[in-house]
C-alpha cells in the first residue's frame, strides 16, 4: 500500500462538502476507508492519524490548508483519485462563481443587501459558528443554527440575545424549519394551511408535517428549537418563544408541539403556557409520562397520532384514511411470517432519522420488552453502535459513533449498507426496519441506494436458502423533489413493504415477530 498526502495551502471548504467528496472518491477506488479529504485542523489530523492516513506533509498542514490523504495499491490509483477530487471541487467552485451576484463575503454584506424579515441558516463548524450567529443577531436576523458542538453557555447567550431582540434562534443542532413556506435545512415541500408546529426534534417534525400535508392538511409555520432547549440547562426558552409566536399568528388555528419529555420544571411551565392557549393544541412527548396533568390539551403517543389529531382539530384532510392503514397490518404480518424460519425472531431497525429511531424503540419496547440501542434510555440496554446487535435492536446511524469524519446518513445513506448486510446475515434477524428521508437537504435518490443494498443482501440470503422481511416508511411529502411514488416503487421492486408512517412500519415489524 502506498500513502500519499497532498496539501493545498489556504483553501477552505466546509466539512460536509469534503465528507461527501471523500465518500464519493472512496467509493470510486473501492474503499471509503482509504480516502480522507479534510481541512488540516488538529481534530481532523487526529482522525486521519488514527486511520493511518496522515503522512508528514499532512502533519505539517494548518487549519486553513486542505489535505488530500489517499492510500492505494498503486500510484496510478492515487493519481486518479486526486484528479477526481480536484475535478469535483473545481466544478463546485465554478458553479458558485457563476452565481456570484448572490454570493457575498461577509454577514454584514448579506444583511445589508436583503430586506426584512431576514433569517440565516448557519451550518459552519461549531467552534466558528457562535461568533457569526452573534453578528447575525445584531443585524436583526433570525437564525436556524444547524451546527452542533456548541456549549450550553453559548446556547444560552445566543438565545438570550435573540429573545432581547424578539428573534428566533433555532438550535444548535436544529435541522428543520419551514417559515412562510420556505423550507430550511432538512425540510419538505408542504401544502400551506392552518396547522402550526414547534418541535425539539428534526425528523419528528418532518414526519408530522409531511403526514399532515400528504393527508390533505396544510402547515402555517414549522419551527425548531434544537434538542437541548427543553433540558433544565436551557429551560425551554426558545420553545416558549415559538409557542407564543404560533399562539399570536392569525394563520395558525391548531398548534402541535413535538419533543422527547422535557425536564420536569420545563414541562410544568410549558404545559401551563399551552393550557392558556385559545387554540387547540396537540402535545406529543415521545415516551412521556401518561399521567401528566395536561387538561385541555390533546396528548398523543406517536408522530402519526400527532398528525391525525391535528388534521381532525383543524377540520381538514382525511386523518381516518391514515389511521385506516393500521387495519391491514395484522393480515400482512401473517403472510410475512410464513416466509421466516423458526430461528428468525428479531427486529433490527437501521435508522438515518434519530427521532424515528427513538419512536420505533419506544413502540417495540412497549410491545416486545427489551430493545437494545445506541440511544437506549436504560444503561443495561445501551449498545455500543459499532458492536453486533443483540435481540431486538434499533440503531440511530446519525449518532456520533457512526458519523465521525463522515456525512450524516440523511445526506449519504450508503453508510447504512455495511450494517444492513451484517444484520441480514445474522440468523436471528426476522425483520429489518428502515426509514428513507426525502425533501430538501436529503440525498437526491436515497431509495436507489438502499434498494441496491437490499438487492445485494437478498442475493447472499438466497444462497443460504432463507429470507428476511424488509419494512420501511418514507419520511417526506408526495410533492418532494425526489418523487415519493418513484422512491416507493424502487423499494417495492426489492420486496420492501412500504408504509405511510414510521409508526405503521414499526407496528408491522412488531406483529411479524409476535408469534
Amino acid at each position: 500500500m502506498i500513502l500519499k498526502n497532498v496539501v493545498q495551502k489556504n483553501s477552505y471548504y466546509d466539512s460536509a462538502t469534503l465528507m461527501l467528496l471523500s465518500s464519493k472518491v472512496g467509493q470510486h477506488i473501492g474503499s471509503t476507508k482509504q480516502v480522507a479529504v479534510m481541512m488540516g485542523s488538529d481534530m481532523n489530523k487526529d482522525i486521519m492519524r488514527a486511520s493511518g492516513l496522515l503522512g508528514p506533509e499532512g502533519e505539517a498542514a494548518n487549519p486553513n490548508d486542505l489535505v488530500f490523504a489517499i492510500q492505494a495499491e498503486t500510484e496510478a490509483i492515487i493519481e486518479e483519485a486526486l484528479a477526481m477530487a480536484q475535478e469535483i471541487l473545481n466544478s463546485r467552485s465554478a458553479k458558485m462563481e457563476q452565481q456570484d451576484t448572490q454570493v457575498v463575503k461577509t454577514v454584514a454584506d448579506a444583511a445589508a443587501r436583503l430586506s426584512d424579515p431576514k433569517l440565516a441558516v448557519v451550518s459552519l463548524p461549531g467552534k466558528y459558528a457562535v461568533r457569526e450567529v452573534k453578528k447575525l443577531l445584531r443585524e436583526n436576523c433570525h437564525v436556524l443554527l444547524f451546527s452542533d458542538n456548541i456549549s450550553c453557555e453559548d446556547e444560552n447567550t445566543l438565545k438570550d440575545m435573540a429573545l432581547e431582540r424578539d428573534l428566533l434562534m433555532m438550535g444548535p443542532d436544529c435541522g428543520t424549519a419551514v417559515i412562510n413556506g420556505v423550507g430550511l435545512g432538512f425540510a419538505n415541500k408542504l401544502r400551506r394551511g392552518n396547522i402550526g408546529l414547534a418541535a425539539a426534534s428534526g425528523t419528528g417534525l418532518q414526519e408530522v408535517m409531511s403526514l399532515i400535508s400528504n393527508f390533505g392538511g396544510g402547515v402555517s409555520q414549522a419551527l425548531g428549537t434544537g434538542g437541548r432547549d427543553l433540558k433544565d440547562v436551557i429551560g425551554g426558552k426558545m420553545m416558549g418563544h415559538c409557542i407564543r409566536l404560533l399562539q399570536d399568528d392569525p394563520d395558525t388555528q391548531v398548534i402541535v408541539v413535538i419533543s422527547k419529555p422535557p425536564a420536569p420544571s420545563v414541562m410544568e411551565n410549558m404545559l401551563e403556557q399551552l393550557k392558556q392557549s385559545q387554540k387547540p393544541t396537540v402535545v406529543c412527548f415521545l415516551g412521556g409520562d401518561e399521567s401528566m396533568d395536561a387538561q385541555g390539551l390533546y396528548l398523543v403517543h406517536t408522530l402519526e397520532e400527532a398528525a391525525c389529531k391535528a388534521l381532525e382539530l383543524a377540520a381538514t384532510g382525511c386523518p381516518q384514511e391514515l389511521l385506516d392503514g393500521h387495519g391491514a397490518l395484522a393480515a400482512m404480518a401473517k403472510s410475512l411470517r410464513d416466509r421466516l424460519g423458526s430461528q428468525q425472531s428479531d427486529i433490527r431497525g437501521l435508522y438515518c432519522g434519530g427521532t424515528l429511531a427513538y419512536e420505533s424503540m419506544l413502540l417495540m419496547g412497549k410491545a416486545l420488552g427489551d430493545v437494545h440501542s445506541n440511544i437506549a434510555l436504560e444503561s443495561r440496554l445501551l449498545l455500543d453502535g459499532t458492536a453486533p446487535s443483540v435481540g431486538h435492536t434499533v440503531l440511530d446511524l446519525g449518532d456520533d459513533a457512526f458519523t465521525v469524519g463522515k456525512p450524516h446518513p440523511m445526506i449519504e445513506p450508503s453508510l447504512r449498507g455495511e450494517r444492513l448486510l451484517q444484520e441480514a446475515l445474522d440468523p436471528a434477524t426476522a425483520v429489518i426496519l428502515l426509514d428513507v428521508e426525502i425533501g430538501y437537504g436529503s440525498h437526491e435518490n436515497p431509495a436507489s441506494v438502499v434498494a441496491e443494498e437490499i438487492s445485494q443482501a437478498k442475493a447472499v440470503l438466497a444462497e443460504e436458502g432463507r429470507e428476511v422481511v424488509f419494512v420501511a416508511s418514507i419520511c417526506g411529502t408526495y410533492e418532494d423533489m425526489q418523487d415519493y411514488a418513484a422512491q416507493k416503487t424502487l423499494l417495492e421492486q426489492q420486496g420492501v413493504v412500504v408504509l405511510e408512517s414510521n409508526a405503521q412500519a414499526a407496528e408491522l415489524a412488531i406483529l411479524t415477530v409476535s408469534r
Binding site: 463575503k105 430586506s115 426584512d116 441558516v121 420556505v182
Partner: protein
C-alpha cells in the same frame, strides 16, 4: 425590537453547506450565500483575542 416574521416573504442568508443554498434557490426563495472562510487562518485562540479587542473597541 419588534420584527414581524410571519405572513409575508422571507429573505434567507446561507452560511455553511452550499447544498442548503442550492435548495433555497430551487424553491425560488430570496437568498444569498456567504462565501465564508475561517478568520485568522482558523486559529481559534487568535479569533478569541480579535473578538475581545472588537468588544473593547
Amino acid at each position: 425590537m419588534e420584527q414581524k416574521l410571519f405572513g409575508g416573504s422571507l429573505s434567507v442568508i446561507n452560511l455553511g453547506l452550499p447544498s442548503f443554498y442550492d435548495d433555497l434557490k430551487r424553491q425560488g426563495a430570496t437568498c444569498l450565500h456567504v462565501d465564508w472562510t475561517p478568520p485568522a487562518g482558523g486559529d481559534v485562540r487568535l479569533i478569541e483575542i480579535l473578538d475581545r479587542l472588537e468588544e473593547l473597541g
